[in-house]
Amino acid sequence: MNDNGALKRAVLWLQTQAAVGNGSILKLMKAGLAERAQGAAPGVQKELERVVGERTTERIVSASVDEAELKKLEKDIERKDIKRILFGDEEYPESLRIIDDPPPVLYTLGDKSLMKNRTLAVVGSRTPTKHGERAAYMFSEVLAKCSLTIVSGLARGIDAAAHRAALEAGGKTIAVLGTGVDVVYPTENRALYSAISEKGLVVSEYAPGTKAMPYHFPERNRIISGLAEAVLIPEAREKSGALITADYAIKQGKELFIIPSSVYTELGRGSNRLLKELQGAMVLSPDDVIEAMGLYRAPYTETSVMELDVDEEKITDRLKRGDAHFEELLALTRLKVSELNALLTGMELKGLIHKAENNYYGVN
């Protein structure tokens, strides 16, 4: 099994030049036809038709073969240190092999061994409320410290918060992309992407260089849930991609965890509706996930044994009950504006609190 270079190249050709879908490629591989598809003899064509149907066969037969281009692509893959794992390879993750429509090939960038870890997918809205985003961050941070590898999709909002939390907690994270592993989408997550490809793993079933297509992302979601042992949804609106991932998770027999959202926000209506159907999925703290997954809780480390002065304590006590406005803290502490400003900066720097929008402050 050490040299399946021909098969790898055949798959790459099918993906890039014959534009055959990954489902058909998998069928061809299972039938042992993938390598013979290129420039198929009439006898082979019959077999192809039997496996993937007339239309796909037609496409394969009429597809051109640009060897130079293929060579260039493979060189690129090598140069960028992208690894290929084919369905059937020893390295191919068991968790994906057993799902309904496993990807024929995984292109990876980073630490492949992460796919063997215990994993939790964290997915949700691209435009979360600040509560949703904070919950995503906090759960991912705690659970990454419990040595779970956090799987997500590198999207804006919840996804990015989950990846970031895992990295900042010193944990591991896997990003499953709907583009080639060498394409950053959305571009504003470039820094996050670089960090994950260095310290974590980036995975995709699409050939390197593949641009974002709308239908890639729902397809990609089956890999997220497939790779994960359980799926956590901090917040999702109706028709959200996270709900698709939840569907896959249920089909694949994965555990589903949902954090409840406010009944007033549209942005959490999808996850709330799902929660109504699956009431057992509700989690209220990372401890619930830890218990359900039978994890060993990381020894609890106090952020630090910081001495808080009276005002700092007043403020943290108040913020534990929810975000508070500057004016409220002013009335609470009876400090001067300038003093409170300075105090809040100090607390921010100590990592106790954060500044939210519109002069609101929240506890970390």
Binding site: T265, H325, E327, E328, N341, T345, N358
Partner: protein, 510 residues
């Protein structure tokens, strides 16, 4: 006979003398004006004819030629009506020419012979005085602004017949009495006072710091949060204008023709609020007459741009140069004119196009996409943002029940602190050629923003925690310097740095 009368014209804020020669001969009736007259000047013959007749002088058919020297500069405006009329009267020997040479004359004529007010009297008087001219005859309506030009002997007359009688020695007119400048109680012109603004403690403090150090300021918040109300309070906490500042500002307003004729002097700091549809020329100055723009009208005061991202991007970009240099140079075909434009920029903006982003009200849900928001904020360019030291969120939340019956501080009290902080800066920068902390460059900051080890540590921690840029750090340093000045500290303390960090720019760009 040829008569010569002195008048004055303006090129921007600088004046230059114009000699008006009037020659009348027997011959076919005509009235020609030469020496590059513009439309308004050419039309002056009609006003002059009527005014002369209606002042009961003789205007029978003669061949009249008016020459305006220097002949190669275009003459604009209506201020030459009066000197032309006097020239005609002298030339036709209806008025004695003995004394006319002593005066510089300015004024527009009405058909009935009365003198109308003209624009730019103050800058004309000041530059003519510098050029050695001492005596002036101007319209009575312009008397108020002439009162502040000490050393000039200004005679304000109501109409052509009075002027003729005065020149002929048949009427005695007292020169305009000089007035001593005193800044009028700041703010009462605007009817605003911080006392009436409830809550908004963070924002008020930001205003105080901004004004004390001359820092430009952005207020970010949803519509109706009170940004405009806060901005209107800014002039009420600014220190009084000095006489020099008042003169500088009045000159510009005088040329622009927006000076209150009764007041004669701008005594409160201007607060200009151009609408966001303002064109480039109206904001910066220029156009066919090289007029002063809003940035110059706001000289020594505040330029308030409400809903800054709504302005045309190119228009906003042109603000960079005056923000940097404190002057604008308006260039047109034949000449370029310089107007001072040292103003404090105060801008307000919504956090996103719909205005609800980050709102704490669960019923106000932001419907903008990430890209819409980014595009909206992206309309203000990085280089422009670099010139804005303070950022503050403004929101409409009130905490009356929490505060109890506390009295809000009045503008006058805040102004005292601001004035003190400005005085400290004036002394400090006496030999540096700058006025405020906001104007400091790197060399100044090295000299005046020394940090003790504790503050240094704090700034370093903030640098890595918040991912500050080098420019971000220097903005924090400048603001901290102002905060220290406000509390009368000679050295910047850690608390000053910490407070300044609360007003740092939010991450506007990715």
């Amino acid at each position: 006979m040829i008569a010569t009368v002195k008048s004055y014209a303006l090129d921007g804020l600088k004046g230059y003398p114009v000699d008006i020669e009037v020659d009348t001969q027997k011959g076919i009736a005509s009235f020609d004006i030469v020496g590059l007259p513009s439309g308004a000047v050419r039309e002056s013959r009609n006003r002059v004819r009527s005014a002369v007749r209606n002042s009961f002088f003789d205007f029978t058919a003669r061949r009249t030629t008016v020459n305006m020297a220097p002949a190669d500069v275009k003459k604009e405006g209506s201020a030459f009506d009066f000197p032309i009329a006097i020239g005609f009267l002298v030339s036709t020997e209806q008025v004695s020419g003995d004394k006319t040479g002593e005066f510089v004359m300015l004024g527009e004529l009405s058909l009935d012979g009365s003198l109308r007010r003209i624009n730019g009297v103050l800058p004309i008087l000041i530059s003519a005085l510098q050029a050695g001219y001492k005596k002036f005859i101007i319209p009575a309506e312009n008397a108020a602004e002439a009162a502040y030009v000490h050393g000039a002997e200004v005679y304000a007359v109501k109409n052509l017949s009075d002027a003729a009688a005065f020149l002929g020695g048949m009427l005695s007119v007292d020169p305009v009495e000089h007035k001593i400048y005193s800044a009028s109680a700041a703010g009462n012109r605007y009817g605003a006072d911080l006392r009436y603004v409830k809550g908004q403690a963070v924002a008020k403090r930001a205003l105080e710091i901004a004004v004390a150090g001359g820092h430009n300021l952005i207020m970010c918040g949803a519509a109706g949060a009170g940004k405009t109300m806060l901005a209107k309070c800014i002039p009420t906490i600014m220190p009084d204008m000095t006489f020099e500042e008042a003169i500088e500002t009045t000159k510009i307003h005088s040329v622009a023709g927006i000076l209150d004729p009764a007041e004669g002097m701008i005594k409160t700091r201007p607060f200009r609020t151009p609408h966001h549809t303002a064109s480039l020329f109206s904001l910066i100055g220029g156009g066919s007459k090289s007029t002063a723009g809003e940035v110059s009208l706001a000289h020594n005061g505040v330029l308030f741009l409400d809903e800054m991202p709504e302005y045309n991007k190119r228009t906003l970009e042109t603000l960079r140069q005056p923000l940097e240099d404190g002057v604008v140079t308006v260039t047109r075909v034949a000449r370029s004119v310089e107007y001072p434009a040292r103003f404090m920029l105060v801008a307000s903006m919504n956090p996103c196009p719909c205005g609800n982003y980050g709102s704490s009200d669960p019923n106000k849900h932001c419907s903008c996409t990430y890209n819409e928001r980014k595009r909206y904020i992206g309309r203000i360019s990085g280089p422009l943002l670099d010139r804005i030291d303070l950022f503050v969120s403004v929101d409409g939340v009130e905490y009356d029940e929490l505060r109890g019956a506390g009295e809000e501080e009045s503008s006058a009290d805040v102004r005292k602190r601001v004035t003190r902080a400005r005085a400290v800066q004036r002394t400090r920068f006496a030999s540096d050629g700058i006025h405020t902390n906001a104007e400091m460059n790197n060399a100044h900051m090295e000299k005046y923003c020394r940090l003790d080890p504790g503050s240094e540590r704090l700034l370093r921690a903030a640098y890595s925690k918040f991912g500050l840029s080098a420019r971000g750090v220097s903005r924090i340093l400048k603001v901290a310097r102002t905060i220290a000045d406000l509390s009368g500290r000679e050295n910047i303390a850690a608390a000053d740095i910490a407070e300044a960090i609360q007003y740092k720019a939010k991450e506007f760009s990715e």
